[in-house]
Symmetry: C3
């Protein structure tokens, strides 16, 4: 089965030519495949952020090869993976958990394979030396290109037990009837503070909530549940279902992250205050 699309996700940034090196190699090995850049601005070595982007975006697109290389363990004995999904996608990347959430969202993880670096190199017709620091170029991109041309994964990889795959630690999330503790899983360029639960998971969904960021010395804030940014007055903190369904603390036209002093990894406490309070500092 050929694939006409490779999605591509790294923490390389665009300067220096690292992304381009991979894409040029893909263009040489699979001239007709299209490369869709997810982002290359994931913070350095931030596997969980990359996994979150991949699990959100990949299901929106067609069945594809998904090349995801955030690889702080490059050059060690960590395995290089191909994961086949129920939908027929092939995910290619290091064995550090980055591929698992997306595989589960793409029809489930059907099989997992460890790339044989030497077979990839030979099939791709690459020089004899594989670098120990840039497997994006020397291993993962050629494997993705070969898979897009329809080469069977068994020609370049050996089956492995999915139970042995590395997995990410899930974010902090405690959903009590009167208190929710939730990790900030996203602080995006708009300053929205994305929390671990979906809005639907919150036990006190329609009420104004008290908001505290653990470790921040400040009076609690209150946030009013709203439908969109424009429902908020200037300076009023709101909580809404973001476009992925996650509960998100937001301001209208300003940065809630800055207001709250919250960054990715912060833990936020939410508690009901009753439905009548206004979304202002208590």
């Amino acid at each position: 089965v050929t694939h006409s699309l490779i999605t591509f996700l790294t923490d390389y940034g665009w300067s220096g030519g690292y992304v381009a090196a991979c894409e040029a190699l893909i263009a040489a090995l699979a001239p007709d495949v299209r490369v869709l850049h997810l982002t290359h601005e994931v913070p350095l070595a931030d596997v969980s952020e990359a996994a979150r982007v991949l699990v959100r975006v990949a299901p929106l697109g067609p069945v594809a090869i998904h090349l995801a290389v955030i690889d702080p363990g490059v050059g060690t004995s960590r395995r290089a993976l191909v994961v086949v999904t129920g939908r027929g996608d092939r995910l290619v990347g290091p064995d550090n958990g980055i591929l698992i959430p997306a595989a589960e969202a793409l029809g489930g993880l059907v099989s997992a394979w460890a790339l044989d670096l030497e077979r990839v190199r030979t099939l791709a017709g690459l020089p004899a030396t594989i670098s120990r620091t840039f497997h994006g170029r020397d291993v993962f991109s050629p494997a993705a290109a070969l898979l897009s041309r329809g080469l069977d994964v068994e020609r370049m990889a050996d089956p492995i037990d999915a139970a042995t795959l590395a997995r990410l630690t899930p974010p902090v999330l405690e959903l009590g009837p009167d208190l929710v503790r939730a990790e900030v899983i996203e602080a995006d360029s708009f300053g929205n503070v994305g929390l671990a639960p979906t809005m639907a998971e919150l036990p006190f969904l329609r009420e104004t909530v008290r908001v505290e960021v653990e470790g921040e010395e400040q009076l609690p804030w209150t946030a009013r549940p709203v439908g969109t940014f424009a429902d908020l007055a200037s300076g009023e903190l709101g909580i809404l279902a973001d476009s992925w369904g996650q509960a998100s603390l937001v301001l209208n036209g300003a940065s809630a992250a800055e207001l709250l002093g919250a960054t990715r990894g912060s833990v936020v406490r939410l508690a009901p205050t009753g439905p009548t309070e206004k979304g202002t500092r208590r």
Copy 2:
């Protein structure tokens, strides 16, 4: 009529996967269309900057779908538009003025349409819930993909009176025989200070001009009209027709914006000083 190209312009930035979500959805709905990224680094909610990029770039390319989503009013009652141009382009974006200058430059605005969110959703086969915060993914990108496949705009939108469309406030521009007041419409990455008039519109075109930035406490500068950066000595301020014909204050290899303390939205006063003065501080 099918279109083989979608140009794509937002203020999303590349991190977070928002651009990629839109492009993945387009790839699923219209696998053969090519996406040409104009830029996704427009400052947040800066509709006029986005309109300027679009009006400059779109006329250089082929007839296309132009998807432009700078959308501070997302989730409110602001309309979602398709605008058809005399050349045959379709512009897709919110009703906040972003599309109008480009439509006028692409053969004129022939017709305007308000997208019916529910019909777009159904035609695109998307889930029942349309987010109130990410119409780039849920409304505009699917509409653009459907249009690129040749679906008639009336299948997804209703005709509206072009006179009712939101329009941008034009920049400050007063062209007197002895004084020009002109808004800075661009301060680009090179530090050039692009002004509202074209060089040809300036009444004192071939003369050294006195330059003052309103609200900046400083002695006036003088700027010498030149043809290109290399005509200037180090530290010498020049004024030239930039590559779009606009009058632009520049330094050779340094930032005129920094020198003058001018940013986008600043108002600059230009006055003739006579043709013999040198372009240095008086």
Copy 3:
């Protein structure tokens, strides 16, 4: 001979629409050609950094048109070039040295041509005025698009003597048996300090080396030769063959550039200390 790929490299950055203007024009002139963006984040006017990216990336991809526009001399009498390589690539860019290393790596420089701006403009059907500040859009992109469609270079350019081409100054590199002086040619987003010699060129390849940055007032560091980042303890400085074979000073998960106070253009002194020392501050 048609080419299906144009690689594209500038210092324009993505904001402002300058990259998009070029790509839109290419899409109008050569609708089927694919554009592979190498990077547009080269530091302003940094011809040697751009040449380094191009020479690294281009040989990994297929025979192509390579459009490389870092052009501080735009609007002066500097020539606009097409360089034909032994492999059959066409490199398009200004005559400032940017194209030469890549040409040599792509089968050698076979012929060099000076673009005739007026013939390019006419063949591309562009308006009568060529800007003096944006030859990326007005000269180089149309030339690249025409070449990709198979137009002979002699239709738009005149042959020139390759001996007359501008060339870059090579980096500082002195390889003595007991002392190496080497310029920092790369300080990438990971903080690795890439040096001018390849690891194989170092005369004391397997030994721990003493490291000093010229002009930095500090005690010397020592760096241990390793195979990959993960071979290093936290805070331990290493030297390794980077993925392009260059000798590179690195830390594991931190910035060696910051530790050493080294930036591109710094000169580093390396001297052997014997194989038994640890890679820590002496």
